[in-house]
């Protein structure tokens, strides 16, 4: 076992490595050099004085935020002898399941490619490039014929995969028991129960004030809201990532949320971020990808049809088309169990010409032009809903892009890949089922009897982290806490709380269709009271 000391040095080394050469690094060096002229810097105590200067001018804080961000996305430390794969995802059967799921998606995309005769990747002719550049801000105005494209998969397809997960170590010798066939998820992972959740989420307790409850119209703002806003302003002024994260547990005020989230995610909008976005935009202009059509279709089917998100159609294209070409997203594979296959470019002769990752984030498939690339993020039906609520907060495409990308690599990717992570969709499903089974056993049993397994209804909410199901202001309050606690666990708890809230009506239904109907409209729900009551007001 590595001792703590050497583990720490490894972590430090990793972080230093990652921050080397960044814009922040060069800025710090520049600041340090320039401050040497200042009178307060003395030769005999140069190190301390420079440090003091950097602290006073807020640069130390920026560095702290950057380090804090790296800690968030650092892969879990494992045994030094263990291959990276095993560190990313320790359970072998999970790794296998994810790999075969990816193969299936790939196969599906491959057959779509052949069936439709559409090239996987295609360089745009110059005229088309010019056209696209001129209408970059209004791509939604087009109505291309997308009828032949179908989403590669929908959440319910993914649910089937999860239901069929098998842990080879699980002993089935005691045969079918009521317990083994309670819920849909057939494997065991450690998930928290209500007493543990109470300890993990103390800020949501009845005795603690928060936004979403204590800012209600009838509550005088002096009791909590005004003070909370005052503190929020201070946190923003201090530019402290860690403080912002802690603060967000009690909710972010509407007027400060955009800044607070940017702070928590350490979105600095450095020139390198802007340049990166411009590069991606250039990549979109130069090449057309098959995946782009899937993106168009998804936006048209979901966000454009939404009563509120339709306004954001254009910027959704700008974000998602760039996202599908972003190699930096692939970084997250370092702690996601999914491994991208290798890539190479085939020339016309079929010989390996040169190994380049181009275009990135595109499935591993040969096509007419012989470009073979990496498998990245294939949008499923509803994917654009991860971005839509963020459009509410951020206007400039570049900043919006950075925020979305960071949220994706920290959280959203876990909702559609197979892993044993406590924030992963498998754990969330299991936790949801367990919470219902323990606290609403009668309801669970009733729904099971009428063939209306609760997970079949709740799954689509959880995969999208409730985006598109809750009203926007409530969704943002939920996502405040996801950021604040750095975990998606509350998504599962909320799903259970919704069932608990509508339990009476659900006990009366006699079919899956009627159960779906009872739970069809969540737009009037108030998220925080539901969570609070479920966690803190129930007798256990």
């Amino acid at each position: 076992m590595m001792n703590e000391g050497s583990e720490l040095s490894v972590t430090i080394a990793q972080i230093v490595q990652r921050l080397k050469g960044t814009h922040l690094h060069s800025q710090l060096e520049k600041q340090a050099k320039e401050c040497l002229h200042r009178p307060e810097i003395r030769l005999e105590s140069i190190k301390e004085d420079v440090r003091k200067f950097l602290r006073a001018t807020g640069w130390e804080r920026k560095l702290q935020n950057a380090v804090y961000r790296e800690l968030h996305i650092l892969p879990p430390s494992g045994h030094p002898e263990a291959p990276l794969e095993h560190t990313k995802e320790p359970l072998a059967y999970m790794r296998k399941a994810q790999a075969s799921w990816e193969k299936r998606i790939l196969k599906s995309l491959n057959s779509m490619c052949t069936e439709l005769g559409v090239p996987l990747a295609r360089k745009r002719p110059v005229l088309e490039q010019k056209e696209l550049t001129s209408k970059w801000n209004e791509m939604g105005a087009d109505e291309p014929d997308l009828s032949k494209f179908r989403p590669v998969y929908a959440p319910k397809d993914f649910l089937e995969v999860l239901i069929n997960l098998k842990n080879p170590n699980h002993d089935h010798s005691d045969g079918l028991t009521a317990r083994s066939h309670w819920g849909l998820i057939p494997i065991s992972l450690s998930v928290r129960d209500v007493p543990q959740l109470r300890e993990a989420y103390p800020e949501l307790s009845l005795s603690c004030s928060q936004l979403g409850i204590d800012d209600h119209a009838h509550v005088p703002p002096d009791l909590f809201e005004s003070e909370h806003i005052r503190i929020g302003k201070k946190v923003v002024d201090e530019q402290d990532s860690a403080a912002a994260q802690q603060y967000s547990r009690q909710g972010s005020p509407t007027g400060l949320r955009a800044q607070l989230w940017a702070l928590i995610l350490n979105i600095t909008n450095d020139p390198e971020d802007v340049a990166h976005y411009e590069q991606l935009k250039a990549a979109v202009i130069h090449h057309d990808l098959l995946v782009d059509n899937l993106i168009y279709k998804d936006v048209k089917l979901t966000a454009s049809n939404d009563d509120y998100y339709f306004v954001f159609e254009d910027v959704l294209y700008q974000v998602l088309l760039c996202f599908s070409r972003d190699t930096a997203v692939l970084e997250h594979f370092s702690y996601n169990s999914a491994t991208p296959p290798k890539s190479y470019i085939q020339g016309k002769t079929g010989e390996e010409e040169f190994a380049v990752v181009y275009p990135p984030n595109v499935p591993l498939l040969p096509c007419q032009m012989g470009i073979v690339c990496r498998l990245g993020v294939i949008p499923f039906h509803g994917f654009s809903m991860y971005v839509a609520p963020l459009c509410f907060l951020y206007n400039e495409p570049c900043k919006l892009y950075s925020v979305f990308r960071e949220m994706y690599v920290r959280y959203f990717f876990r909702l559609h890949s197979i892993s044993s992570s406590p924030s992963g969709i498998v754990s969330l499903c299991l936790q949801f089922e367990r919470l219902l089974q323990i606290h609403l056993p009668q309801l669970f049993f009733h729904l099971q009897e009428i063939m209306a397994q609760p997970l079949r209804i709740a799954f689509k909410w959880m995969v999208r982290a409730f985006s598109g199901y809750l009203s926007t202001d409530q969704l943002l309050l939920l996502w405040d806490r996801i950021l604040g606690y750095d975990s998606l666990e509350l998504v599962a708890v909320l799903a259970a709380a919704v069932f608990a809230f509508r339990a009476e009506n659900l006990m009366e239904v006699t079919s899956l269709a009627s159960a779906e109907a009872v739970l069809a409209d969540l737009s009037t729900l108030k998220v925080m009271p539901l969570l609070q009551i479920f966690l803190f007001a129930n007798v256990i």
Partner: protein
């Protein structure tokens, strides 16, 4: 309805006499009719029957108002000469005169607060004044609007004088030849070239104001409203594309990419939250104060011109446009805002709006007259500004009084009404 021994209730001295049975007439076939049908104790009357309440259209008003004798309790939903506020050429005339009065009486700084309507000229009478101004700002865009039509009909944009040469001919006609019924009057207005856009789309705001009296001025502001989006992206390049610039839902409905399911509308609460997330609470509060200012001053400008009549009340639909500096502009006031619903949510909103209007008109005599809020309506002006805080020694002279308006705020009207209103006469208490 049943003729009981006296079908009105004499309540105690605090209450107006209320009626338990209200005979109504209604010219509209939409949400209004539903609300009237479902109101306890209200009965529709046939063609020539006597009525206590009339939700009429402006056509009926014009033909019949002057010949109708109305008893004291009778109510009708328009003021006789509402067009002083709602016809574009008259509104402009009244606002300009009002501004002059304000400048004379209160100085330049106060008069600037009246600068919420874009530079406007009535054609053909003010054609020459318009040309002078036109020449002073070459290259700018102007919008031509017919005075009396609605739903975006007849409106067009132009930049060159030659586009409106026909109006020059009209100017040379003599006064006798100008018959209002034949010559269609237009107003020409400076077009707001920098509207506030949300992701490239232009929108305007529809807000509802209920006036129950002009002298003294008593006006209520409804908390709900909406932002109407143009379906296509805003650009000054194609001013011929009328679909881009006009945000009326009626025009959008015929635009090529309109999806009827979408509705192109945001509820006011959603818009307010979006703006707050983008600009912060303080800026948005100031914006909404500026919007309140538009309502009050526009009503004040016609206060002395409108024939005040205690039988009359009127529900106006105000159209407000925001520019990129978050300055609100008054585009138009409608005396007959559309009460037809485009979808279920819209129906519920309009239903509540009409219901609350009827609560305030109060044929049933359930209000004391001292209320500052009824359902989704907040009393905005009562012969003077109305503040949220109740007047007392602490608030005397305090600079921290907030206006009693909640546009885009939470509308928990059902709860408020339960606490406020007694059951309908004849109904048992629940």
């Amino acid at each position: 309805c049943l003729h009981l021994a006296g079908n009105h209730i004499k309540a105690d001295s605090n209450h107006r006499e209320g009626r338990s049975c209200v005979r109504y007439k209604c010219s509209l076939m939409n949400t209004v009719l539903d609300v009237l049908h479902q109101r306890p104790g209200w009965v529709e009357v046939k063609e020539d029957g006597e009525w206590d309440f009339n939700w009429c259209d402006v056509g009926w008003l014009r033909e019949n108002f002057d010949h109708s004798y109305m008893e004291e309790h009778v109510r009708i939903c328009h003021f006789r000469n509402h067009y002083e506020l709602t016809r574009k050429n008259l509104m402009v005339k009244n606002l300009k005169r009002y501004r002059k009065t304000v400048e004379r009486e209160a100085g330049r700084l106060e008069a600037v607060k009246c600068d919420f309507f874009p530079l406007t000229f009535v054609l053909p009478s003010e054609y020459h004044l318009f040309v002078e101004d036109f020449k002073r700002s070459p290259g700018s865009t102007w919008i031509m609007k017919p005075v009396a039509r609605s739903q975006g009909k007849g409106i067009f944009l132009f930049r060159k004088l030659k586009d409106i040469m026909e109006w020059k001919k009209d100017c040379t006609r003599s006064d006798e030849q100008r018959d209002e019924a034949q010559v269609e009057s237009y107003v020409v207005q400076s077009y707001i070239e920098n509207p506030y856009l949300i992701h490239g789309r232009k929108f305007d705001l529809r807000v509802y104001i209920l006036v129950t009296s002009y002298l003294p001025l008593k006006a209520w502001l409804y908390r709900d409203g909406f932002a109407r989006f143009s379906n296509t992206r805003f650009s000054l390049r194609t001013i011929d594309d009328q679909y881009v610039h006009l945000t009326n839902v009626a025009v959008q409905k015929t635009a090529p990419v309109y999806n009827p399911e979408k509705g192109c509308k945001w509820q006011m609460q959603q818009l307010r939250r979006y703006l707050t997330a983008k600009h912060g609470t303080y800026v948005v509060e100031e914006l909404f104060k500026d919007i309140d200012n538009i309502f009050i001053r526009s009503l004040q400008s016609v206060q002395k011109v409108i024939i005040n009549d205690k039988h009359c009340f009127e529900l106006y639909g105000y159209d407000i446009l925001l520019d990129q500096d978050l300055k609100p502009w008054l585009i138009e006031v409608n005396a007959s805002p559309s009460l037809t619903a485009s979808n279920q949510d819209d129906y519920e909103m309009k239903y509540s709006l009409i219901e609350d209007t009827l609560h305030i008109v109060d044929m049933e005599g359930r209000l004391t007259g001292k209320e500052k809020r009824v359902g989704g309506f907040d009393l905005m002006w009562n012969d003077g500004p109305v503040f949220r805080e109740n007047a007392g020694l602490e608030t005397l002279g305090s600079p921290f009084q907030t206006a009693n308006t909640h546009l885009g705020g939470v509308n928990d009207r059902k709860k408020q009404l339960r606490q406020l209103l007694k059951p309908f006469p004849g109904q048992k208490k629940v």
